[in-house]
Symmetry: C2
Subunit: 490 residues, 2 copies
Amino acid sequence: MTGNKSNFPDWYQAVVREADMAEPSPVRGSMIIKPWGYGVWEQIQKDLDRRIKETGHDNCYFPLFIPLSFIAKEAQHVEGFAKEMAVVTHHRLKMIDGKLQPDPEARLEEPLIVRPTSETIINHMFAQWIRSHRDLPMMINQWCNVVRWEMRTRIFLRTTEFLWQEGHTAHATRAEAEAETLTMLEVYRKFAEEILAIPIVAGRKSAAERFPGAEETYTIEGLMGDGRALQCGTSHFLGQNFARAFEIRFLDEKNEMVHPWQTSWGVSTRLLGAIIMTHGDDQGLRLPPAVASIQVVVVPIWRKADEGEKVLVAARSILLALENAGIRAKLDEREGVTPGFKFNDWEMRGVPLRVEIGPRDVASGEVVLARRDTPGPPGKSKSAMNEVAAHAAVLLGEIQKNMLVQARAAMEANTHLVTSYDQLRAQMEGEGGGGFADIYWCGNPACETKIREDTRATCRAIPLNQSHPPDKCVVCREAATERALFAKAY
Amino acid sequence: MTGNKSNFPDWYQAVVREADMAEPSPVRGSMIIKPWGYGVWEQIQKDLDRRIKETGHDNCYFPLFIPLSFIAKEAQHVEGFAKEMAVVTHHRLKMIDGKLQPDPEARLEEPLIVRPTSETIINHMFAQWIRSHRDLPMMINQWCNVVRWEMRTRIFLRTTEFLWQEGHTAHATRAEAEAETLTMLEVYRKFAEEILAIPIVAGRKSAAERFPGAEETYTIEGLMGDGRALQCGTSHFLGQNFARAFEIRFLDEKNEMVHPWQTSWGVSTRLLGAIIMTHGDDQGLRLPPAVASIQVVVVPIWRKADEGEKVLVAARSILLALENAGIRAKLDEREGVTPGFKFNDWEMRGVPLRVEIGPRDVASGEVVLARRDTPGPPGKSKSAMNEVAAHAAVLLGEIQKNMLVQARAAMEANTHLVTSYDQLRAQMEGEGGGGFADIYWCGNPACETKIREDTRATCRAIPLNQSHPPDKCVVCREAATERALFAKAY
């Protein structure tokens, strides 16, 4: 592929483009997700949807459009989103002065917002559906598109429109809602590590980084290949903020009308960007087997036509064996391109495992398997032709684990215990993009602001698991009980 | 449930509401698809998506917003859709005079249309992706939401926003594109009959009913319980209309730059309405097993607590056996409601098969299975407890087939060979809602218009299979070579 990781932003765009995952659309900030990228999203949906259902949530679908008045109801929420909302004002076009334009006679009485997230419309409905404690918990999820008019966009990471799932729940007690918030955070963490092979720091956000309208926001935070952090998913404890704004009340077991406690949580197509930036290398994309649309590609190799026939027959039987074993496989029968071209092409697209088969392999009954996660000879092994499927299954499992190990090693190598403010500044100015700075922070927003202004690093997560003795804040030297991870972020 | 089929529109709304499939939203003409309705849509997606992929199409995702100038490019297309388009004109809200409103300083230079369908943006991209005959055929599909600002809405059947899939293809030759149009029509027909148990007339649309921009539109047309037709899906042969409008050209094998030939095709959440109106009865919804989120419900029956324990233990083992057999099953353990209430509840929701288990059944080792498609004693059978899963699997297969048989009988009973214009008028004014009138039609739009004005019936389909000798048009008595089905329609 063109470019390498030394120029990370260009390398990222090149991977997106050359692995044919997505491309910019003619609509500002929107993307077209092409089949190779969308296939990964489909695997993500399939696996995560199962996890969401297993934890007791039902899928449903709420409208794309939200009345402006709904958006205005929760004060922090509207403040957080008002500046990036697409507004529908007309419902018809008309030819006027030879030009097609919004028909002035078809102006909406109340403008509609294209959902940036669905708390408002969902809680409007919850207010009608929730009457008694017997209606609780109410636990729903939807897969949909949302729109946020971002000024600076980058494909997958920050786009005007993106695809996501958003879960919304209501509970009878604070404790139950808090537990739900953490349950979903853990669902996300496990999903990210087991399926995407992305190591995660699970933690609390600082007040400055909280979702508009939430009482507490939790994050699964990843560290990308350039040392910048990426928020890969969030789970919000909403307290009773939206319940109050939308007047959701239920008769509790003591026969009193009270507000329920709520949560919301989501992950998006941003995860496709996280996969690229966590696993990609100078050869292009690397896909964890669990989300690769094609897990194994079979590349036939021959020169003479009579060789070709034999090789293809053997290759087709390998393909069939792989498919019968439940492996997502493809035989690359393209003519007019060399095997070397095919090797590069599938490497760039990130297919985890390649089977190479030529006339000599057919004769010897053995083929070569080449791992995408391990370059060169160490990544190659041989397999008897009638055992390829079994070998491939084992290797795919190893690749899935190894990619997490590799990524975790990279994250750990770029996570730095920082004990002084000078060290923090040096860290953020140095090579490696800064990485995670693991510091004592007193929790004072002033210290957070100072760090951001001096270094551009922000608080990415206050890890859930804290086992440190109290110490002093790295900024103000006041008492600090918690450690926090700061980094420059996407 | 409340109401019955004698007042069909009220009955329809009652089924939607009481089976908890969907409800109107506070946004005009939009619906909220609730878990029970969305579960059916998920089954539809799963099965149809497989069929779409098996016929060589890849999923992808194009932007929700379409620049106004794109919409204007194909003349018929814009004429067909301009009157029902949601238009985004601003990208920010602002507090002005104490009121949140679109920020005048954030007006878009070019308004954006919320996609009513995606031919325009997709063909804009095809023009960049298609260069050579080696890029063809290009065959893609997307699952997404679309918006058409309909004046009269009815839940599932005609809503401002709906969910659908839209396939878009480009081919090197007219013949190949025509074949693709019919391939997808046949995919839809088989899907509707095999999975939704909805009998279909597959045919061509008249020019008046054609998709704006298509050269030919094909339909899978169903006949609903009230004798009105419903277009359940369409497949369009677009000719080179969009290719010309969007300047898509490729170098063919003779080294000439030519336009490709195209198709598009889609089905939507309207299918949920089709299921209700084809299969519903006075007890409520009836779901074909292939799309029921719950195929078998197990209802335990007892009076005394000690009986309850034994019954529940047995019921749970039945649930497990059903699930292990790959059957989507649920045990209704609700307390505080009677078994009779549960029977009615699941009947209303349309669950295809019920297992009843009480203390006597536990003692005798036999349970009762009750079919939703066959009321009363004929629908009941007994099964040994350890054979319930096997019996249920057989019965679900029979129910799936029988529902199609029942629906086909209803359609045939309400399809009338009509040989005179007087008979046509009488048919459309009579009982049974008119049904399908199977007539000779000369193809002249004037005759079609006369029928519509006199009877409100329109041409629903000119069936693909014609084996009739030429005769005379039922309206003008001129020569007619084809028979067509006319009906009042949704």
